[in-house]
Each structure stands twice: as structure tokens, then as C-alpha cells.
Assembly symmetry: C2
Homo-oligomer: 371 residues x 2
Amino acid sequence: MLTPNPRLVFAKRPDVGILPVPGEHLVFDPSPSIDLDAVPLNGGFLTKTLMLAPEPFLRERMRDPSIPSYSTHAVLGAPVVGSVLVVVIRSEKEGVNIGDRMYGLSHWEAYTVQPYVEGRVDFKAGNYTEDLTIDLDTMGLGPVPDPKGAYPWSRYLGILGAPGLTAFCGLEAYGDAKKGETIYVSSGASGVGSVVIQLAKARGLRVIASAGSDAKIEYMRTLGADVAFNYRSTDVAGALKKHGPLDIYWDNVGGASVEAAIEHARPKARFIMCGSISEYNTEPHTWYGVKNMSTIWKKRIQIHGLFVGDHIPTLGPRFFAEVPALIAQGKMVGQESFTEGLETAAEVLVRLLQEGGGDDLGKPIVVVARE
Amino acid sequence: MLTPNPRLVFAKRPDVGILPVPGEHLVFDPSPSIDLDAVPLNGGFLTKTLMLAPEPFLRERMRDPSIPSYSTHAVLGAPVVGSVLVVVIRSEKEGVNIGDRMYGLSHWEAYTVQPYVEGRVDFKAGNYTEDLTIDLDTMGLGPVPDPKGAYPWSRYLGILGAPGLTAFCGLEAYGDAKKGETIYVSSGASGVGSVVIQLAKARGLRVIASAGSDAKIEYMRTLGADVAFNYRSTDVAGALKKHGPLDIYWDNVGGASVEAAIEHARPKARFIMCGSISEYNTEPHTWYGVKNMSTIWKKRIQIHGLFVGDHIPTLGPRFFAEVPALIAQGKMVGQESFTEGLETAAEVLVRLLQEGGGDDLGKPIVVVARE
């Protein structure tokens, strides 16, 4: 018996500097179907997608294949590959059982035979091509434990998923945080930023955070930010001059914010470069030119390009030992904002990629199916 | 009996973006004198300056005191404080004997009662003000051993002094050099650059180096550079595209070279930011804006602002254990270019600060006195 297996297809590459358009670059296709009982598993297992999380890194993968980046480019005509929470509904693989929940990267479709690509590896190990780019198409799923009511399953896509891991690994690997120091977090209301704020407070840091709406400013204050400002109404350099100097800068936005942070950094400051949302949808020739690069040596600033996959093998175990417990104890909080149905995924993603990252408070999650 | 004690005085701050002018900002003053036999030592010692080394960092110290930087600003009206090789001619200090040679930072004058500033510390330990800037006025001298003919004393101002230490500490602390990798060294014929090239070759790296004259290109080849190009006639980005990609970038120049190196870096490349000679004599609003900062996280590039003083306590002993032996065995070479007389120091310094760093091959040394 055939069951509908809708998917979100990566149909066309958006040009450099433009937002992808739902229905053009990202097309919801309701037509595929699958025989859940008879589809061959070939020693693998069959998963049902429960939730998925649109995330900024997906835009980078949509680039033209001639442009190098940290990740391999997305495959045209295939389903989007992104963060998912799935449940196992059939299995021929030892150690994988019906009812197991898994988090990681997989196809954005209702049901998937896993592994969906030959040669995939467990997502915790990372998988690099010979030029050191990351083949995200071959990264897979890892099991997640039942929270037994301590927190909702959706946390695994937010504070306990890639955003939380990114915040934890970046701060642990590069932050060298010392109690009483000051950190500035741009996009502090984002999936990653909201965890950086909380981890920074837990380590005794003074936190300056910025975002683009009054609701987000209030949200960042509830997360513990000591200073929260709206970059649309407040000059970033002026705010950092007033509230700085900085010992750590967590960069989610790029461009002029980096220049301002360099200007107002203390000697020996650490910068963690995580993203550049100010530039995802603009052409490179319009990108802001950072003029004060010489200040890097004058202040002995250390600037670290971060990719979480590099650190999960070493820091992931500590994350999973510490953060779920803090959440269960109420010492850290996750927050998600939900939309219903795979057909909403493209729109949620595009909203996230807009300048300002959209109005959603908390990590945007698309609910694909209830159990 | 009074002996002349000429000095080079820091007489006036040059405006931002201009070269200092000998006779205006840096004034040779032949009028002071000293009684070498009777001058009180107060438990210290009296040194005679043999050689001094004009170096680019001196320009940074001439800035307006309102501008923060890694070092304290130079004191107006006082002798310039810079790298020197001195010999002890009187001593009241235990462990310091007549005839001892010392290298480090001291006044640029013929004779100096040491310590010249209360609270100075041995130069190997570093000395930081509470805002983490380095008080170079309180850094002092350290003894250097007699090479007994294995190499000339002048090496202590070049490959065995600050330039050599800078190259060694930067590569060891941040380079993570692996055999077969590629490094690009800008200003490869400079005091620091020429040692970076040799150390990189000793570690099995492929070396791309640039400088601004044909004689320097040839000099860099003799030091072992695999690819040497003239940045005045060859586009840096084009050369790096052709001969890269880079695993390590040693930056002595700043500006557009940094952007080109980011563009042609391999994933996980390490950048060692040592100086910005392209910007020492130009106004900040004219500095090149680096537009590809987002590539830092896309390639997980690690950018390290370097100040050698941070690393001498940990890496200095290894340097002094390894490099003098390599020089004595002829496996590394130092080269200096000499001028005679303290009255030439200002001109040699200004030549070094010019775009291109002047035409001198090897480390410029001013001979102040023979024994």
C-alpha cells in the first residue's frame, strides 16, 4: 500500500546575493509515495520525520558549485538535506530499533530509507572531502535519549541540537572565558545566540547582546543579557564604546559589526566567527570592508573561524553530559517557535535568512508529523 | 672627565599617516655628556651602546597617547627606546660584569646607566600595564653569550634577536606547520620575513614569498623560497591563485594582501598577523577594507594577532637552544646591512618605514661604537 511521501526539493540555485524563493528555488512536491511495509531497507532502517529545523547554513549549500566553501554544495533535484528529528518505524540494522528517536541531517521528506547515501558516517564523527570541505550529504543521524518528560523532544533541534552544540563547542574551544569578562553576542536572539548568552552567564561573563526587534531585546534579557540593544536603532560601535570593551566577540552577522568589535576589543580578545547573516543575501561587492585589520596584531586579537563539526568528536560528550542536565534542572532554557507541515519549511527558512532573521522568538521548528 | 653622550631624541609626534622626519620628529642631539668614571650607578651598571636596530614597531610608539595600541606610547623629549646591543663598562650589580654583552631595549644614546627606568624587568619576562598594553619603557636587557667566532655579534640584533624570536615564536605558537604545507610570507626580505622563510623551509614547508625589488626577490630565493615574486609588478591575488592555496599566511603588510590570502587559503588555514607596513604611513580612512571576512568561518581560518613578548617566556628557551646552533652549523643564515654612527639611526628607521621597507638587504643595523 502506498503512502504519500511529500518532500521539499532543491529545484534551482538562487543567484549570489538573493534570497531563495519558495516555489521557485525550493519546491514542495506532494507527489512521491512510498510503501512503508515493502520498501527494501537493504540492512538499513526506515524513519518517519517528526520535526525539522530550517537553519542559515542551508543557504551556503545552495551556492553555485564553482564557489568553494566549508561545505559541499547541495544537489539539485534532490530533497533538501537539513536538521531533523526522526523516529524509526522499521529496521534491519542491529542496534537500531522501532521507536528510536534520532537527530541529525537527513532528507526533508516525510519518510526516508536510511542511510540515504552510501558511505554516510555517524554525524558526530564528521566527514571531510579531500579538500577539507565537509560533505554534509554523507553526515547522518545519531540516537537521542528519551527525556521522559524532563523537556520536550523539540529541544533536540535547538539548545540540544546543532545550535546548542555550536554555542558550546565555540565557547569551549575558543572562548577561554574567565569570570568577570565581557562578551558581545550579535544575533543574540537566534538559535545559536540564545544559547551563547546562557552559557556565557553560566560562566560568570557580563553579556552584551544585540538583535533587531524590541521583542527580541526583551527575550535576550530574560536569557540573562546584562545589556541588550536593538542594532536598528542603536549604533553598534557606539553601544560597544559605551558598554565595552570586549574580551570575547561572538559573531553571527559579519561586516561592520566585526570592525566595531575589533575597535572596542580589549587586548588578547577572542573572536568566534560563526556566521554572517548580514551578507547571505547581498552581493559580495557590496559587503562591508573591514579597515582596522592592523588592530588584530596591535591588540593580539585571536579570530577563530568555527565549524561545529570540527569539535563534536572532542567536545560533544561534555556537551551531552552537562547541558541536558542543566535544562532538566531549569538552569538553562530552550525555546522553539513552531509551524505545522512540511509545506511551510521553505517559507520558514526564507524568513530566517532575511536581514534580521525574521520575527520568530526562539528556534524555528517545522512539525512534519505527530507520532 | 666628561665624555660626549650623543642621543637620538623623540622630539615631536608625527601626525597619523605620515612618515617621521629626521631632524623634526627624531632629532640627533650631540650635546649631552657623561662622566663615565663618576656617574652614580646606584647599584646598577653602565653600558656602552655598540649597535642598534631600527624596527617598524617604533612607529607605533610615536602615535598620539590618546590612541590605544599594544604598546605604551613613546615619551616626548626622551631618547628613543629601541633594540640595542651593549657592553657593560662598569657595574655595581651582582652577576653583571665588565665586558658582558647584553641585548634588549634601551635608550638610543652612546652610554646609559642601567636600569634607566625604575621598575624595569628583564626583557624576557614581559611587562604589562593593567590594560594589557606592554610598557616597552620598562623592558630591559638580557645577557647574550659570546659566539666565540661562530657568528658575528650583530646576529643578536637580527636572526638571534627580536626578528628571529618573532619568527620562531609566531610559527611555533600559531603555525601548526606540517611538512608539505604551503606558507605565504609577505615582506619576505625583512628582518622577520627572512627568518620565517628559513624556519619554514627547515620544517619542510613550501614557501611563497613577496617583496618589492628584484634584489630582494633574489635574496629570498637564496634563503630558500620556492616561489618569490615582486608585489609591485605581480598582482598578489593572482600569484596566490597560481601558486596557492595557502595553509599558513605570515602577514607583515596588512590590507589587500590579507584579503587575497583569505581568498586563497585552504580550509583550516592559520594566519599569523605580525605587522601592517602598508598602513604605517597612511591615514586610517585610506586603509584597505577587507570584504571577505565571512570566508573566515566558511574556511574555519584561524587568525592570530602576534606579539613576541607574549611567547618569549614559554618559547624563548627553545629558540636559544636551537637557532644559534643552526646558525653556527651554517643551516640558517643571518644577514645585516650596516651604517655607521648614531647620527644615521633616524634616516635608517625612516627608510625602513617607507612603503617597500627601503632597499637594504638584510637587517639594518646602526654601528654606534666599536669596542
